[in-house]
């Protein structure tokens, strides 16, 4: 009988370790413990020194390749703007739709960047909010060399050059902005929805989609209460939390969604949902029965920003691509597909000219785009749109549990 088939041997394998062995294993664990016992280092970064930035960029060279990490449905399917970039500069690109949620993306990136390793992406797109704030605070972003961003300087709108969360565009430049509002499926909802109260209406019990992101849902809870999220206090968060909890407990909400809400609302699993403007327009173009509104009480405007993560292999190529997207013609091509708010105001005129030359369906679609307040908001429109609250680390520890206890009950 071979050793392996000896029942006595197997029994030995399943019996408790002897005490000496147990100590030995414990010793090994203790070594591991000692490794970790010193704690997880904080990485709070000081603002970059001008010399250091200059030094960094003087050491970088063009490598002829760039890896762009972006959100889904954020680039025409034929990737025309990127192809154009490749043929004009000879830089080959990889385009990866790997970012579905800021929190999740940051959570995955944090340990990698904390360990001083490279993410493998040269450009990353993140929304203004807690996670982008963390990226900047922790020193995970490469300070940009504005001498290499002439198109940005020439073509970006003023509001997009001066953003409170990144003064002087030190680390980021906008990719696009968008509006969070309400989407509804016109096959099931016959009324025109105008108010945020639709999301709380028992008429749509079990057919309402809310967003799982703490800030997004908090904003809508506060707007529904008539509170401006930018100026909100802890008391407002609690009140918003109560309203959202009541909405959930009444069975009105079907689910707290990530990017997948758009499939759910266009399939009819949900009828009314919190939504991001451009997603809905893209689905409309594809012929799906969805409509987008900014509630009369207000919505939120956010900006997705391009940044170069620390340790990126091809920062020069990345910077060239970022600047390339600020050529008005390229920005127009991009915006015609993604239909969000472009940071390049010149796009409106380009699309207007294009509409004048186009015929039939194309003409109609282009004219609608040019006139859309959700692609080219006026001053009055901007007044209705709130931005996110900026939270300190301490505030986050109060804010998150209030809203996560609702979305993750």
């Amino acid at each position: 009988m071979s050793h392996l088939h000896d029942p006595a041997f197997l029994r030995g394998m399943t019996q408790p370790r002897t005490r000496r062995e147990a100590f030995r294993i414990a010793g090994l664990s203790a070594a591991g413990l000692a490794l970790a016992a010193c704690g997880v280092q904080g990485q709070k970064a000081a603002p970059p020194k001008a010399d250091a930035v200059k030094d960094y960029w003087s050491q970088q060279t063009k490598h002829g390749r760039v890896v762009f990490a972006n959100w889904p449905e954020y680039m025409p399917e034929d990737q025309a703007p990127l192809k154009k970039f490749q043929s004009e500069t000879g830089i080959s690109y990889q385009y990866k739709e790997v970012i579905q949620e800021n929190a999740e993306f940051f959570g995955k990136a944090d340990p990698v960047l904390r360990a001083g390793q490279s993410l493998g992406y040269d450009i990353v797109v993140m929304t203004n909010g807690v996670q982008l704030q963390h990226m900047i605070q922790l020193g995970y972003c490469v300070a940009l060399d504005h001498s290499k961003l002439p198109n940005f300087a020439a073509n970006a709108g003023e509001a997009y050059k001066n953003r409170a969360y990144d003064p002087g565009s030190t680390y980021t430049i906008p990719y696009t902005s968008g509006v969070t509002g309400i989407a509804y499926n016109t096959k099931y909802v016959k009324d025109d929805i105008t108010s945020i109260e639709a999301l709380f209406d028992p008429k749509y019990k079990g057919r309402v989609g809310m967003m799982g992101d703490a800030q997004e849902i908090a904003n809508f809870g506060m707007i529904a209460l008539g509170v401006n999220p930018e100026k909100s206090t802890e008391a407002d968060w609690k009140k918003a939390g109560e309203k959202l909890k009541a909405q959930r407990d009444a069975g009105i909400v079907r689910k707290y969604y990530d990017q997948s809400y758009i499939d759910a609302v266009s399939k009819g699993d949900i009828w009314v949902s919190m939504a991001w403007s451009g997603d809905v327009f893209q689905r409309q173009l594809a012929g799906e029965p969805v409509k987008f509104v900014v509630p009369e009480e207000g919505g939120t405007i956010w900006t997705d920003n391009m940044l170069i993560p620390k340790g990126a292999a091809n920062p020069v190529d990345a910077l060239m691509l970022m600047d390339f997207l600020y050529q008005p013609a390229v920005a127009a091509e991009l915006d015609e597909f993604i239909q969000y708010v472009t940071p390049v105001p010149g796009v409106q005129d380009i699309l207007k000219e294009k509409a004048a030359k186009a015929t039939g369906e194309d003409k109609k679609a282009l004219e609608q785009m040019v006139a859309s307040p959700l692609m080219f908001p006026s001053e009055a429109d901007y007044a209705k749109l709130h931005t996110y609250t900026t939270l300190s680390t301490q505030q986050e520890q109060v804010f998150n549990p209030i809203f996560q206890s609702i979305t993750q009950a």
Binding site: H5, G39, G42, E104, R254, K267, T393, N400, Q408
Partner: protein
Amino acid sequence: MKRLTPYLLALPSWMWLAVFLVVPMAAMASVSLQTGNAIDGFAMTFSFSNYADALGRYSTQLVRSLWYGGLATVAMLVIGYPVAYWIAFKGGSRKSVYLFLLLLPFFVSFVLRTISWGFLLADDGVVFGTLKGWGLLPADFHVLATTVAVVGGLTYNFLPFMILPIYVALERVDPRVVEAAYDLYASRTAAFRRVVLPLSLPGVFAGVLMTFVPATADPVNAQVLGGTGNTMIGNIIQTEYLTNLNYPTASALSFTLMAVLLIGIFIYARALGTENVLEAAAR
């Protein structure tokens, strides 16, 4: 030297365990007792209250996960045993074809499979849309965003891990033993209950372990198929790690989950009599 050989041969696997199991576990144990935040860093304070806080906040989700994991495991056993039995005893020369068919969907990624269930089960999708069209279901009937969807998804996703070990155990049952049972006037039921079933228990034991543990800890099914009241502990751990960067709470929850599962497995092994099971497997 000769006496050392088995240990030397085992050395790579011990090293592997040390590097990829012991060290991370020790690190996690340490983090679970630290306090601080991700920006300023965490420091060791031996804060055992992390465990109490985490459990206090998330006991609902923990209990729910065990419940869902248990339900799914039972469902897998009920579905999986007959399938394994059929392939092992009635599969004939096409056994490997059936096994291949069983595994075929698993060439596609776990998450994608779950998402396609989302499409399949959509309220007005292929299945329910059609049934509703025929008037067989009320218009507001839905499965997505319910407990049924989550447990169903778990059952589907882990089923092969139940079937395969049972199949392997049944495959090794010598048909002559069954014949002998009949010769001794055992009825079909008695032969199954007193001969085949006991011999297949090692497979059942392994199958339950291999499905209950991952099903209980799984975050994907609850996220894709679940609704407002279906959050499982895996989702919470994910949120605490990735969204809140609250590494101590996340680690404390992971350890608690692990402890609960280990205790459960221990009781289960005792109840089933691991020694007998392992001896049967070794035969």
